[in-house]
Amino acid sequence: MLAIVLATLAVAVFALPFLGLLWRMPWSRVGEVLGSAVARDALWVSLQTSVIAAAVSLLLGLPLAWVLARANFPGRSIVRALSTLSMVLPPVVGGVALFFSFGRRGLFGQYLDDWFGIRLPFTTAGVVVAQIFVAMPFLVLTIEAALHQVEERFDDAARTLGATRWYAFRRVTLPTVRPAIIAGVVLAWARALGEFGATITFAGNYQGRTQTLPLATYLALESDPDAALVLSLVLIAVSFAVLVGLRDRWLGSRRVPGRAVVAA
């Protein structure tokens, strides 16, 4: 009984702000705002950058999660702490740190500029870098946790049956943690989409190049609150659609580890 009451309160915590938003929504202006160049540019920048950030997070984060879960090496706990550090760092601090490392005068940034002519601050690429920095830990954490649950002996069993390490990973481990991988990618994507502090600090704010939907919403709040409401609706609608769509199809089915072991 108590659990139901508390759970209802929890739902209220989530639902009430959205209800408030919908209650104040200027429905008559939705078409006008959505059609504006600011909204279209912001949506395009946001989608482009968050998807790339999620993809890179998967490319780099999945191997990292696997190494952290499976390999035993000195300093592993430090590496793990480092991988998730940006989660607890205030995003603006993350942005400043990115300046010091990848900025024009940064530790590595100055070489990127001198040798390759690559400049990250105030560019779309800079937005992606900032997003990866804050979002990848979510993916690493999610996948590593799932890998810990999959018993290594299934891996070993497959290997004794003749499978190579890569084959065992691909056909045994991967299918089992697939829900966690998808969850990790979605979490990282959502975090990247909503990122504000690190992007506005490191990549600045310019329509069509670095102005993401959260940035556009924040600035609209000061000049045209109605437009800010509509932009918020876009963010919520996009996120909601992805989360609902993915949950049903991929995360709903739970497969027992034992059943996942099928001889090659």
């Binding site: 105030f122 310019y206 000061e222 000049s223």
Partner: protein, 203 residues
């Protein structure tokens, strides 16, 4: 200013909240419990309409070009800002200094495309200070406050704008007596001297 006021009025605590004027008005509009509000321009103050009756200008400010310490890009005039490859940043047009800067550039007939429209004036100073941006147009008081970590390049008086700062005891304040008292203090000779000491102009 706050510490001087607290010294003169034992038992009173002045709580300060700093942000871009436009952001503060949004907060007040949405119920922030403020007693006094000071804005960087009259246009932003006017957004408060009835809540800001009786606003008076308490200080003025001027604009200045801010560049990295030592002026490595050798910027001397506003026209230099339009130099190709120069990384110029400004504030978003919602923020007072963004509008002031645009006016100065328009007066000088200089067209520059900024790389970023910042949410407040302090982040412009920070990014120039860090060397990540080459130049920005900010208030002279900001350049002064940053000390020798930045260099200021003067804007000719004929092209400069006078930023006028109004202050008001808010209509929705829960402490109207205290609010009026603080505003009077700011407008007094003592208050004016504090402002002049920091580089602001008299109203």
């Amino acid at each position: 200013m706050a510490s001087r006021y607290e010294e003169a009025h034992a038992g009173v605590e002045v709580i300060l909240n700093f942000a871009a004027s436009s952001e503060l008005v949004t907060q007040i509009d949405n119920g922030a419990p403020a007693d006094v509000f000071a804005s960087a321009d009259e246009q932003t103050m006017n957004r408060l309409a009835d809540d800001a009756v009786g606003a008076r200008v308490f200080a003025t400010n001027r604009l200045q070009i801010v560049v990295e310490a030592g002026n490595p890009e050798n910027i001397r005039t506003l026209t230099d800002l339009a130099r190709p490859g120069l990384l110029y940043i400004t504030a978003a047009p919602e923020v007072p200094v963004g509008r002031y800067a645009a006016r100065v550039l328009a007066a000088a007939g200089v067209e520059v495309t900024p790389r970023s429209l910042e949410a407040n004036v302090k982040s412009i100073v920070s990014k120039v200070l860090l060397g990540e941006a080459d130049a920005g147009i900010v208030y002279v008081t900001d350049v002064r406050a940053a000390g020798d970590r930045v260099t200021g390049v003067a804007i000719p008086d004929s092209l400069n704008v006078e930023a006028r700062y109004p202050i008001v005891a808010l209509g929705g304040s829960s402490n109207p007596v205290g609010a009026d008292d603080f505003v009077s203090f700011v407008l007094s000779a003592t208050g004016r001297q504090v402002l002049l000491d920091f580089g602001f102009g008299a109203p």
